[in-house]
Symmetry: C2
Subunit: 491 residues, 2 copies
Amino acid sequence: MRLSARDLAALTKLVGEGNLASDREARVAHAAGRSYIDLLALRSGHLHSAPDVVAFPEDEASVASVLAFANDRGVAVVPFGGGTSAVGGVGPDPEDKRPVVTLDLRRMRRVLAIDPVSRTAGVEAGIRGPLLEEHLRGQGFTLGHVPQSFEFSTLGGWAATRSTGAFSNRYGRIEDVVVGLRLVHPGGILDTSAAPATAAGPSLKEIVLGSEGVLGVITQLTVRIHPVPSRKHASFYFRTFDEGIHAMRAMAQSGTPPAMAYLSDEAETEAAAAGGPAPAGTRAGALQRVARGRGGGSLLVLAYEGTVHDMRVQARNAKEACRSAVSLGAYPSETFEKERLATPYLRDSLLDHGVMVDTVETATSWSLLLPLYRSARDVLLRAIWADGVAGLVLCHVSHMYRDGASLYFTFLARQKAGDELEQWKRAKAAVTEAILANGGTLTHHHGVGADHREWVAREWGESGVAVLRSLKERLDPNNIMNPGKLLPPGG
Amino acid sequence: MRLSARDLAALTKLVGEGNLASDREARVAHAAGRSYIDLLALRSGHLHSAPDVVAFPEDEASVASVLAFANDRGVAVVPFGGGTSAVGGVGPDPEDKRPVVTLDLRRMRRVLAIDPVSRTAGVEAGIRGPLLEEHLRGQGFTLGHVPQSFEFSTLGGWAATRSTGAFSNRYGRIEDVVVGLRLVHPGGILDTSAAPATAAGPSLKEIVLGSEGVLGVITQLTVRIHPVPSRKHASFYFRTFDEGIHAMRAMAQSGTPPAMAYLSDEAETEAAAAGGPAPAGTRAGALQRVARGRGGGSLLVLAYEGTVHDMRVQARNAKEACRSAVSLGAYPSETFEKERLATPYLRDSLLDHGVMVDTVETATSWSLLLPLYRSARDVLLRAIWADGVAGLVLCHVSHMYRDGASLYFTFLARQKAGDELEQWKRAKAAVTEAILANGGTLTHHHGVGADHREWVAREWGESGVAVLRSLKERLDPNNIMNPGKLLPPGG
């Protein structure tokens, strides 16, 4: 504990009795996110760092007062949403020796206003996915934003990390969901325009989105909402991943693709079908039937969403694009959707069995997608094999745009006992270099956090780094906000 | 001329023989844009300022070398696209006493690459609308971006000012059109990611878009392109503007509205129908027939665009939304589209006849749209009448979003001889205050320029101003880039 009793008393006064915790459990629970490095550390029992105290502010004024206090006293502040960062975004910086207050936003979870005419809602940043949906659905609306961390992650966290949801083909990324927002920074409050569109200069909203807590704390957002939709599922089986990607592109460029589309490469399709004989009516069962005697193959699961008419247009475009594929009906997609939010829990079981498992993701244009895919997969496999262990690389495409799409790799390998962290670092570095060398972005939706910092200058360039440093210096001159994240090391 | 012969020789060397002009004609042609203030000044023959020299660089390296020279010598630089700014964006700052080089980008107009698979194109910033469309259509594509200044304005200018085109309901605003871009600033080059989407921090692209030349010169862009579409026209006549707005909202919230939709209020509808008996098959004729015996009324012209199927979906949504209206068929919309690009020329004839004419525009949420409309119109009329002259205020809605729409006002009044500028300033100030007080953005697509500077802090807030000043100071520490634009005066 690097904070004095007097500091703690002052903080208690700022956030209110009962809204401050400095017990071991609270500190450990806020020491790490869900990156591979975080999971290794949590399992080893040797955390590199933990906050000295966790505050649970109940309103924006408390956030502002904590930031003013911290700025004055030389205390670092880590904003904390659901704690699901896959890139080391929420742990205190082990290099920074100042005391740390983690601001857990979970008690700022009110829906402030719903405007059914404009179809917008004003919401506090700390609300989690399920509670937000419960509120909105009570009024006949949905946000339509369902990242895989949905159960735990928060609206503010989605905005801070440029999150993307499974139905992004219909509702867009978080930058399309958010109309405007409020950011409390150590020197004041940045409140961006909530007009549907504006030509009044550079976009302040787009400066806050993706700022990962290093500029301040997002406290409140205005978001676009949609009438609760109907949903239908469909699945198709392609001879090859290449053929499936061709169909994905046709759907994306039709202008009205399925709300969700998730195409697995041959390895991931095989993994989904693996196991003993599966009952009919399950994804594995359907896959086993069709894959029997075929080998290889690439599974595409789809969801059509919206009005009956919207679904008809999406289905028409999908069927047109998937002419060459075998239709597998609704089951594989329905099962997929039920399993999707649970998939991350698998990582714990795998780690229990001594398996290294992590994911990397990127996006690029359609014309670079297959070369990037092949190169990144080969580099990953080679990096794993170079360590003399067996490994597996799975890939899917799950977000598409008119001009390109995302690629999401899962890599698994037997852990090298005693060398777990370095083993992971070698694979991570190799695949990241391959992604950047082949025209991919450093990250499509995981963010930068601590894990991608060393590469971010490659994405932004020298002038881009200078721009982001100047924003940081202006809004957070004493570098108290989430130190050690987003910005490249040094300088 | 505030530049020495030696400076001119140095500049000639940087941009190449024949790419520099300091004759009176070139200087006058680059002294002003097309704002009301600009038009008054051009007609009076008393220009407040003009560049000392106009450079026509042929490539990015020349732009960079001119900026380095200017930065070194204390010379201001004004980037110049089509010169169509409606808000004083391209004239040298009369308050700034340094020499001025205007960089006219018209000789940087190459289409560098077309990627038909990803449906993107790499293009130099100085290309004008018609030439860009000619190139793209030669390959079966279109940009789909047609602002009213289309004939003269440039891709780089559209990006620098956050332009919007008539078909924005289908192709989006310029921020949706542009994937990535390059900005030359006095200290280097900012090259933003060209991935279809990224979570690698705040958006550098969205910092350059809308920067109006104050951070640097946009030299090159990657844009999304679309297969050349088919187009169909339709028109509807509503009893009232309110009823038309209700239909616009229904179309916008259907998710697939007509590519173009333009709804005139009662006054603008009446103006469109005005004049002597009009021939059948013209917009005026159709309007006169339907308006006869009705009075009032609000005209909506639509264009459906895309594939046959796209147009069918747009038409279905439009007809559903316009159930209460009288269909006027294709003619009024076809005529409207033919006349649209010529409308700005009318301003010259009106000025010839001693009529003050200008436009102001904004956007807001659907629930604030009608109150804002009424307030702004009343304030404008009152401001005009307070001067004891007859006046007219017309309005239309021409860009729509799920959560709101734009409003575009045209105001006309007899000029007060000898008091023309102050008369305009009073009306402009009154309506701008009304727009801001009623939840509208300062500008939906005209930009800030010089004319909106005094209000921009109201849009951005104190922290927003600080953020934009820090960007300016980092990228252009000597304030050579387009001084007197975008940023609020002082400080």
